[in-house]
């Protein structure tokens, strides 16, 4: 287990094409960090730089206080889980897990002990003799994790490991990952584009956009006080409503809007789409008036929403203000 420190980490492929524009972060020992962002934002690149699969153009990455910029992946004491699992197709589950240990020259008995223990934790005991192609997606995912666990590394790196699973399995594996982290307490970096994964797994998260870390913080903190309009729009579903007011942007989350009488209305929306979800009902529309910004509201299932005019109000405490030009948060 170890700390990971990123100091102004930069990556460019050519002088003109910079993909990571200086990310800095101190990751505490045993922390579970999620790197969240849309595709193409550089989150996987950042993770691969920590892994040593991409060279570092500028800045410094240290694992456990040791600068690893020029170390090979195998010397960084990390283990990585890939999106497509990257299991060796011709090896059994046992060999997949044991391969890295064999290269390290561990004793046979030690390798066997570690593999058996990992198989126990991941409930793979009965599959050790199987080939990856004879297993389901969820099982392969577990083997990939087993391969990381047996290494007993300082840091786990996860590159969108759940995105190839179906929705139900994803929720289950999310729970297992959390349990695994509680049990092993290994520092983990987890890349995803799924905000639910990020919110549920992260102790802290980095929200990235176009190669920049827009915000670093605990999930609820990021949710409650998004630093930029990008973060406000990326975290939360449907995203935060942005309504231009007095040259600034007023941000209000859909769940903070409630129907009211017309005299109390802060916003009057022209509803054009209603999505009843059972637990609640989503309504979409645009603000009546000149600019007609899109708004969404999450209403209780009991409210009979329908297309047409809808008066909405909100608690001023739930309002966020952003600069219209830079998109940065304006503290009240």
């Amino acid at each position: 287990m170890a700390t990971v420190s990123l100091k102004d980490v930069r990556k460019s492929y050519t002088p003109d094409l910079q993909v990571i524009h200086g990310v800095s972060m101190e990751i505490r020992d045993g922390e579970f960090i999620v790197i969240l962002g849309p595709s193409g934002c550089g989150k996987s690149t950042l993770l691969r730089m920590v892994a040593g699969l991409e060279t570092i153009t500028g800045g410094e990455i240290a694992i456990g206080g040791r600068v690893v910029n020029n170390l090979e992946p195998k010397d960084r004491d990390i283990a990585m889980v890939f999106q497509n699992y990257a299991l060796y197709p011709h090896m059994s589950v046992y060999d997949n897990m044991a391969y890295g240990l064999r290269i390290r020259g561990l004793a046979k008995s030690e390798i066997d002990a570690r593999v058996q223990k990992a198989a126990e934790i991941l409930e793979l005991k009965n599959f050790l003799g199987r080939r990856p192609r004879e297993m389901s997606g969820g099982q392969r995912q577990r083997v990939a994790m087993g391969r990381a666990i047996v290494r007993e590394p300082q840091v786990f790196l996860f590159d969108e490991p759940l995105s190839n699973l179906d929705a139900k399995l994803r929720v289950q594996m999310r729970g297992e990952l959390q349990a695994l982290h509680r049990r092993l307490g290994t520092t983990s970096l987890f890349v995803t584009h799924d905000q639910v994964e990020a919110m549920t797994l992260a102790q802290r998260m980095i929200v990235m956009n176009a190669g920049r870390a827009e915000q670093i913080g605990a999930p609820l903190e990021v949710y409650a006080r998004p630093a930029t309009t990008f973060v406000a729009g990326f975290i939360g579903s449907p995203p935060m409503n942005m309504i231009p007011r007095d040259g600034k942007l007023l941000g209000i989350r859909p769940e903070h809007l409630e129907p009211c009488t017309e005299s109390e209305a802060a916003i009057v929306a022209e509803v054009d789409l209603v999505e009843p979800l059972g637990a609640d009902t989503l309504v979409y529309g645009h603000v009546s008036g000149a600019d007609g910004a899109r708004v969404a509201a999450r209403l209780p299932a009991t409210s009979r929403a329908q297309a047409g005019k809808l008066a909405l109000r909100y608690d001023p405490a739930n309002v966020h203000w952003f600069d219209a030009g830079s998109g940065k948060r304006i503290e009240a």
Binding site: L53, E72, P73, P89
Partner: protein, 282 residues
Amino acid sequence: MIENRPLLTAFSHAILILGVLAVAFPLYVTFVASTLTLEQIMSVPMPLLPGNQLLENYSQVLTAGSTKGSKAAVATMLFNSSVMALVIPLGKITVSILASFAIVYFRFPLRNFFFWMIFVTLMLPVEVRIIPTFKVVADLGLLNSYAGLTVPLIASATATFLFRQFFLTIPDELAEAARVDGAGPMRFFWDVVVPLSKTSMAALFVIQFIYGWNQYLWPLLITSEESMYTAVIGISRMLVGGDAANEWNLIMATAMLALLPPALVVMLMQKWFVKGLVETEK
């Protein structure tokens, strides 16, 4: 087709049977001829049932060749052919798999240039470069040697290209996972790339075995001693001139012997061969 039309079924069977006859009949005649005496073959019409000369003819050619044409023992020729048909595919596979591994997994200056150079040689048939190749081999003193028979035919653009295309389908993450696991490039090659290429190698082996076995022009050029003849050359050396002068029973026996190894290789490796062409284990 799932339709049940008796006439169509009969028709397609007739076509298939005709096809089989067209292919199999000459083979059958060859076999029959190899069991007859020369007089029986020369009689008109030639008998179409096997004779009693099987052992005599085959032991004659295996140990002493023909009596009028080449007197080289066919056993030696079969051995020479085997050397050629084994060394060429094994050499080709070794060289091309390493070359493709370098081209796909390493970044070095002029990487693409080298690949295209290899690729371009695909467009030059053996016959085009046979004179310069002969000159090189002759100057190296490799005439009438196994090295001369095999080495010039080992370089292979086809195999390099085939392996390259296969390697490109291996996900990059596999190489990265191996790197994280601590495997160096050659370890990755042995532990991951080679096992995954097994079926491709088998397919290539079958094709190249037959290619090596059937070589005619090249051995004809560089072998002048009887002890270095291959089976295919041996057949042509037994032909001495006019139809009547040839010992067709012995020539046909040699042809049967020359035909067996490639047929066996195809039959025994058929499963692997098909697998290699259609299926990839990833």
